[in-house]
């Protein structure tokens, strides 16, 4: 039996999937840490242990993400945007726009009817356009990352940030805390700012429905709502948004063997 492995070594989280005949056999996530090579090794070991598949039964491995060069067993490296496109298209064939919110950047993709990347745009070199911005502010407010989304939806009066920079945004958040502004209003302001950045990226490639969200940002219910409000649409959210790119890598591994 032939198995296919897709590994996505992201800047914050590493993700992996083993597939067989297009079905997922096992999935695994772990923090990438500061040693991508080690993360890649642990990813392979974790996936094999969970699935019971032997490494020699893996027919092809595709690596993607920031740390893809560190996946020693990879047969091929593929750009993460292409993998994301393949992954989401396999889940939602009607999708034509994808918002992929990652730890280091946000990218917006337009897909054609065959799931290929017809256009794309990547956020500029600035943390304020990425999930990292939320991470920084969550740290300032001492809130768990998974709680910031729901908390942002409780806000009645979101703070307007006067800066588009994550570093200055952090100090602005500290100032607001010292002024006694409610945490939900600060965190809502950050979500709003990120949603506005994402909205402008969507504008650059042009919105075509249906539109899905992937990456770690797809786990943040607050961010989803803020983007939906900004764009005036309903986003499709895959069951495991963080794993979409790894799934696409596994699909491309399977395609490479055909």
């Amino acid at each position: 039996m032939a198995y296919f492995l897709g590994i996505d070594i992201g800047s914050a989280t590493s993700k992996g999937i083993i597939t067989e005949d297009g079905s997922t056999v096992s999935r695994h996530l772990l923090p990438s840490g500061v040693n991508y090579r080690l993360a890649a090794q642990e990813m392979v070991e974790g996936l094999l242990a969970k699935s019971g598949v032997a490494q020699e039964d893996i027919a092809c491995t595709v690596a993607t993400g920031q740390g893809s060069a560190n996946v020693e067993i990879a047969d091929q490296e593929v750009a993460d945007i292409r993998c994301c496109a393949r992954g989401i298209f396999s889940i939602f064939p009607s999708v034509r726009t994808v918002i992929d919110v990652q730890g280091q950047s946000t990218q917006v993709l337009r897909l054609n009817g065959e799931g290929q990347v017809a256009n794309f745009v990547v956020s500029e070199k600035c943390a304020s356009g990425s999930g990292r911005f939320l991470d920084i502010i969550a740290n300032v407010l001492q809130i768990k990352l998974e709680d910031i989304g729901p908390l942002s939806l409780e806000s009645k009066n979101p703070v307007t940030f006067t800066t588009g920079c994550a570093v200055f945004g952090e100090s602005e958040a500290v100032s607001r805390v010292s002024e006694g502004v409610a945490r939900e209003d600060i965190i809502a302001g950050v979500h709003q700012a990120l949603a506005e950045k994402i909205s402008s990226l969507v504008g650059k490639v042009g919105l075509e429905e249906r539109c899905a969200i992937t990456g770690g940002g797809g786990l943040n219910t607050g961010l989803i709502k803020w983007i939906e409000r900004k764009l005036g649409i309903e986003l499709l959210v895959p069951p495991e948004p963080q794993l979409v790119t790894a799934l696409g890598a596994a699909i491309m591994a399977e395609e490479a063997c055909k």
């Binding site: 593929v78 750009a79 993460d80 945007i81 292409r82 496109a85 054609n112 290929q116 990347v117 017809a118 256009n119 794309f120 745009v121 990547v122 500029e124 070199k125 650059k204």
Partner: protein, 457 residues
């Protein structure tokens, strides 16, 4: 067993090396002149001033070009850091910051050329000649240099109106007269500074080569329309400096260099030889100024089968014959030889019918879509790389608009690469290469779209 080494992906033109060497000679000539006590000026652009200065026996060197040379040789960063220490913010033009850092270093060394300066360096100037063309940095930067040197600063103001304004009645003659007066004032200033009279006969020679050089450059670009593209943009960038910043070089030598380049490119076209040693998978245009610090990046893209067959910057206009027989004033002859009526250029370049449509577009919108997109259409480009420069508004401001127009009108996609002409820290080659891979899928998609629409490529 021995394996044969794979040739480099870029197939460099041999004729380029001789032209590139002329730029080195220009800097060597500047140092030599300074050592012999002859005057040297730092000049912004070849522009209008270089031929006049050369005719008066002043050697010229070009801080703008020298900054790119520093970047290409990997020595710009200490000058950038020095400029920042002088209080110049990092979002200013990279050329200006490199030059300010270089000047600051010269002051530290009592006017001597820094030993780390590439190509022999730029010697201390007796004069700084700025230009009002294209951007404010080009004169504000030279005003700043005035702080470092005991040298006067002169700004050549030349008319730089919008396209619509150039078409207003009488605009051309007003611009010509403005230029003549401006340059005569410059000559008067030089005569006073140097204590000698202008050599008008010499100006006929020093100012006469530009049109001939541009004629060969235009012919070369015409050949570049061939499939596969015979000349990669890497060679264009290496050679173009010899045309744009020729300094005191004999115009005939530079003309000959470009004539040889034409012969070599023609030979390649006749034999189906490409500017890359790989199959030409994609034909691209490079929009904006290049990352001088990382031109090797083009080698990596060529490895993927990317052939940059044309670029947006410094494309010479189609040569036209100008009758100067009725003008006897040498300055007027000098100006009229190079400053063209927009209507004449358009008619010659596009033919009367399309020129009329372009003029209508300009009168209506202030710009012409046909003109802006022409090279993409003529060179049958699959994709465009937009090099968005964080420190250059002039070349970056219109790129987003261009991106939309390319897609809307010609169904040609663009890849945005952020970077800088000088500052290597603003450029992420790994990210750019990752995006390049995805962009191939996008170019493939739009090839299908163009085919479905019955477009010619």
């Amino acid at each position: 067993m021995t394996t044969e080494a794979k040739p480099r992906a870029l197939n460099r033109l041999q004729s380029m090396y001789a032209l590139r060497a002329e730029v080195d000679k220009m800097y060597e000539g500047g140092v030599e002149a300074s050592e012999e006590g002859r005057p040297v000026a730092w000049v912004m652009l070849e522009g209008w001033s270089n031929a006049i200065l050369n005719a008066m026996g002043v050697n010229t060197v070009f801080p703008e070009n020298y900054s790119s040379l520093c970047a290409a040789q990997g020595v710009a960063t200490p000058f950038l850091e020095r400029s920042e220490a002088e209080g110049y913010p990092t979002h200013l033009c990279g050329y200006a910051r490199t030059c300010v850092g270089y000047s600051s270093r010269m002051v530290e060394l009592d006017g001597k050329i820094p030993p780390e300066a590439p190509a022999g360096g730029m010697p201390k100037p007796i004069l700084l000649v700025a230009s009002g063309e294209v951007c404010d940095a080009r004169f504000k930067w030279f005003q700043s240099l005035g702080r470092f040197f005991d040298a006067p600063v002169w700004t050549i103001e030349s008319p730089y109106p919008g396209l619509r304004e150039r078409l207003t009645e009488g605009a051309h003659e007003r611009n010509v007269n403005f230029l003549i007066n401006e340059l005569k004032a410059f000559v008067a200033f030089l005569e006073k500074l140097l204590g000698k009279k202008m050599d008008w006969d010499a100006l006929e020679h020093t100012g006469g080569g530009t049109n001939e050089i541009n004629r060969w450059r235009w012919e070369i670009n015409e050949l570049r329309k061939a499939r596969p593209g015979p000349m990669n943009t890497r060679d264009f960038w290496s050679a173009v400096t010899a045309a744009l910043f020729r300094g005191a070089a004999n115009p005939d030598v530079i003309t000959k260099g470009f004539e040889r380049m034409y012969d070599e490119v023609k030979e390649r076209v006749n034999n189906g030889i490409a500017g890359i040693n790989r199959p030409e998978k994609y034909r691209l245009s490079f929009e904006g100024l290049p990352p001088w610090h990382s031109l090797g990046f083009l080698e990596q893209l060529a490895e993927r089968g990317w052939n940059f067959v044309i670029e947006s910057a410094y494309r010479p206009p189609r040569p036209i014959t100008i009758d100067l027989s009725k003008y006897s004033d040498p300055m007027e002859r000098y100006v009229r030889r190079r400053y063209r009526r927009l209507e004449d250029s358009l008619e010659e370049d596009y033919g009367p019918e399309e020129a009329g449509l372009i003029i209508d577009e300009i009168l209506c919108d202030g710009v012409s879509r046909r003109m802006g997109l022409r090279h993409i259409r003529d060179y049958q480009v699959d994709g465009v790389v937009l090099h968005v420069l964080l420190t250059c508004r002039s070349t970056s401001a219109g790129l987003n608009l261009l991106q939309h127009r390319l897609l809307d009108v010609l169904k040609v996609p663009s890849l945005v690469i952020e970077g800088d002409i000088i500052d290597v820290s603003a450029f992420n080659p790994a990210e750019a290469l990752r995006n390049a891979e995805t962009f191939e899928e996008t170019m493939d998609h739009y090839r299908k779209v163009r085919k479905e629409l019955g477009m010619p490529w």
